[in-house]
């Protein structure tokens, strides 16, 4: 397939190769087991240039690039796409190091401008095979804010996409009934849909409610408008089976796109979720009846959703917000043990996040896509597998991180005392 096109591309590559000075950023990844969409792992050579994957062949001649990376016996996957607050949280218990929150805005709040590419969490996660993150906001109003997408390459500039979706949650609450919460969201949508006017008395509560949670600025209402226009989905963190049904109904009657998040009792309404073609972002390891909304939490959630044909993406819930987001691979590995097809489990931490949120040009190894690649020494979902190399936009990443540096500081023999302590 595509033989002619490939030959043409090869010619073009060779043409540019001779025409221009040799590109430093051209890499040939040779002989690795490459994870291809709808196929799984197959032995292929990958040619990367100017940040993109430009060729995937059984055999590409080594003379084409000075940077040949022997990947015999290695596993090459798209870089992991995680759901996290990476770059927005440094230390969980120190609010001054957290930028996911807002009291001023809710629906319109996008934390991505606060992104810190030098966070130690970014360094660690990059060294563990993560190439990009879907930022999770946590504003304190009715909506948590806007999801957006950021690459986590070395250096001061990162490519971003977004907003990807509007995050909120539905279910148990300490004050209003969940029924009231549903009424409110419907009224709010109706208000925005009918064209809001801050001067009208019966609508003024939406602008100037005394309680912050009921206050919506123009920016917030514009974000809701985007959901109503189907420019992005509403993303709802919800667990209880009956709540999931209500949210599905609401999305249908409001004619909006929906993504479910967490969904611990999703397995009880798997057919309904599947029929509505709504994807679910979840941690397969969430099997504890930790709240009255999750009494039917079970390890079987993931396989039941998977068997019903629901599109899934995984995160690792114990990552304390950001720090160990890379462990989504551990969740995916467990999902396999719990009955999910291997390729689908790996897709759930690579291509599915991109597909679910329509993130352009990433998540799969295909010609023309961004060269965001991770090279592993073994099965990427296994616990003892190590990351060997990471590319983001075709650029080979520095994988140094604070944990390796501390390890070295305390294990290397030195003559000097204390901070050069031997083990």
């Amino acid at each position: 397939m595509g033989g002619k096109i490939m030959r043409l591309i090869k010619l073009l590559i060779l043409f540019s190769f001779f025409l221009f000075p040799h590109a430093d950023d051209m890499y040939l990844l040779k002989g690795g087991n490459v994870f291809l969409p709808n196929v799984g792992f197959v032995k292929k050579d990958i040619l990367v240039d100017e940040g993109l994957i430009i060729s995937i062949e059984d055999e590409i001649d080594s003379s084409i690039s000075e940077n040949v990376i022997n990947s015999d016996g290695k596993y090459i996957t798209p870089g992991l796409i995680v759901f996290s607050a990476l770059g927005l949280i440094e230390i969980g218990a120190l609010p001054e190091t957290i930028d996911t929150r807002s009291e001023t805005y809710n629906a319109g709040f996008d934390p991505s401008d606060a992104f810190n590419p030098f966070s130690q969490g970014i360094r660690l996660n990059r060294s563990k095979g993560v190439t990009s993150t879907v930022n999770i906001p946590s504003a304190s109003g009715y909506f948590a804010g806007l999801l957006s997408y950021t690459k986590i390459n070395n250096g001061i500039k990162q490519k971003k996409q977004g907003p990807l979706g509007l995050l909120t949650s539905y279910g148990q609450s300490y004050d209003d009934s969940r029924a009231a919460n549903l009424m409110f969201i419907k009224d709010l949508f109706s208000y925005v849909r009918n064209g809001y006017d801050s001067m009208k008395a019966d609508q003024i509560q939406f602008f100037y409610g005394t309680d912050n949670e009921y206050r919506f600025t123009k920016r917030d209402l514009e974000a809701i408008q985007k959901v109503i226009n189907k420019e992005m989905p509403l993303v709802v963190r919800v667990n209880k089976a009956t709540d999931i049904l209500k949210v599905l109904e609401m999305a249908k009657s409001e004619n909006i796109n929906l993504v479910l998040w967490e969904a611990n009792e999703g397995h009880m309404v798997a057919e309904e979720i599947s029929k509505a073609e709504v994807p679910v972002i979840m941690d397969p390891l969430n099997n504890i009846p930790g709240t009255f909304d999750s009494l039917n939490a079970t390890y079987e959630n993931v396989s039941r959703l998977h068997n019903a044909g629901v599109k899934l993406a995984f995160y690792y819930d114990q990552s304390s917000g950001a720090h160990n987001a890379y462990l989504a691979t551990q969740s995916a590995g467990n999902a396999v043990a719990l009955g999910v097809n291997y390729n689908e489990a790996l897709a759930s931490v690579t291509s599915n996040p991109a597909e679910i949120f329509d993130i352009k040009n990433v998540g799969v190894i295909a010609i023309g896509y961004d060269a965001d690649l991770t090279i592993w020494d073994n099965d990427p979902l296994e616990l003892m597998t190590q990351v060997e190399k990471v590319f983001i936009d075709g650029s080979k990443q520095d994988l140094s991180n604070r944990y390796d540096e501390l390890t070295e500081r305390y294990t290397k023999e030195e003559e000097l005392p204390n901070s050069y302590r031997s083990r």
Binding site: A93, Y142, Y170, L383, Y410, T411
Partner: protein
Amino acid sequence: MIKKLIVLLTIFILFGCGSDTPSIFKSKMESSAKNFEDDIHGTYASTYTPLKPENIIIRNATIFDGNGNKFLDYDVYFSDGKIKNLGVDLEVEGAREIDATGKYVTPGIVDNHSHMGVYPAPSVRTSSDGNEATNPVTAEVWAEHSVWSQDPQYKLALAGGVTTFHVLPGSANLFGGRGVTLKNVSANTVPDMKFPDAPHSLKMACGENPKRVYRSRGPSTRMGNVAGYRKAWIGAENHKKRLERDPEHRDIKNETLVGVLDGKILVHNHCYRADEMATMINISQEFGYKVSTFHHAVEAYKIADLLADEGICAALWADWWGFKHEAYDMTIANIAIVDQARGGTGCAIVHSDSESGIQRLNQEAAKALAAGRRAGFEISEARAMTWLTKNPAKSLGILDKTGTLDLGKDADLVIWDGNPFSVYTKAEQVYIDGALTFDKASNFMPHTDFDIGIKEWEEK
């Protein structure tokens, strides 16, 4: 829609623990708290009885014995609740045979840091019973008096191969109270779960948690924390003196502290920072007690030699970090560095402090093992298995009863459907005192009363 996401992180930010070596029982003076033996053997004694011990021989397994050894194609024989023999082609009459070709057998996992029962599921305010956060010194409270015997989480840990767990009070206080060691069995009362003859423990906590919880009344600083420990120990010394002239005198708080000074109660000390652990060791020297185990100890690798020299265990996560400042200096090689200190004499433990993590402690050990090898240590899988079995049993003072497959010990063991260091492996069967307590194939497992009437869907 729900306005505030309730961040449960605070639960594990809040709490920690500690442990000890059996040697301290042999040394030291007589207990001056005359009722102390009663705590273990009297009114509050364990009333646990095993489920239904069988006579079983497991054949052709790959065995990690918990002592750091690996045996291929080996048989394990147990009867009357005890390990009776290990070997090749054992000849045994009248035992049920289990073919474990391609499978692995290990001792039951021991988690020395759990809050199951005191922070049960569902997590609601009305059964959040792990921290008596009303005074920085609450040595008088006992976790066993908070444990909810119907917590639906025990069976989830059982499915992960956990046969023994140690429930600690939280880390809000300098002295959080006594911990309790439980067999992972379903029972209607707490004494029916208690590990027979297990020593009592005392939870202490360093650092951020106590000084945050008590910042308005004190202690509000780390030096305030240290003054608080020392004041309490001086009070315990005074109590001891008083007992010499007034042996009938009761003081519930000081009875716990004197139990520690007399070497009867094991100190489990939640402590993250290396410098604070060194200070805690100084305090133990001032008052003549021993720290069994530092818990969480994200910086244990910085003083791995000191811990090995002092014979103190470190109970650690594989990779948790960053949720507070004192958990910032993380290395995934922490467990391996502690283990390998002083020629491999360190005592490293993989603990959970998490109702989720406790279900997959074997996976946590795998990550720690991989990081240790990456740091240049040659560590075998069999050695890494000691982090989950022998060392935590040692830290709880129950190594003479469980934690390895030594002959005569409790037949607490797990049959895994593959290598337990693989993400794809599951516990297939779990035996406690020779009785089958979990069987994956037939979905045989205990259900607490809380589970009754909830499941609206069929479990496979």
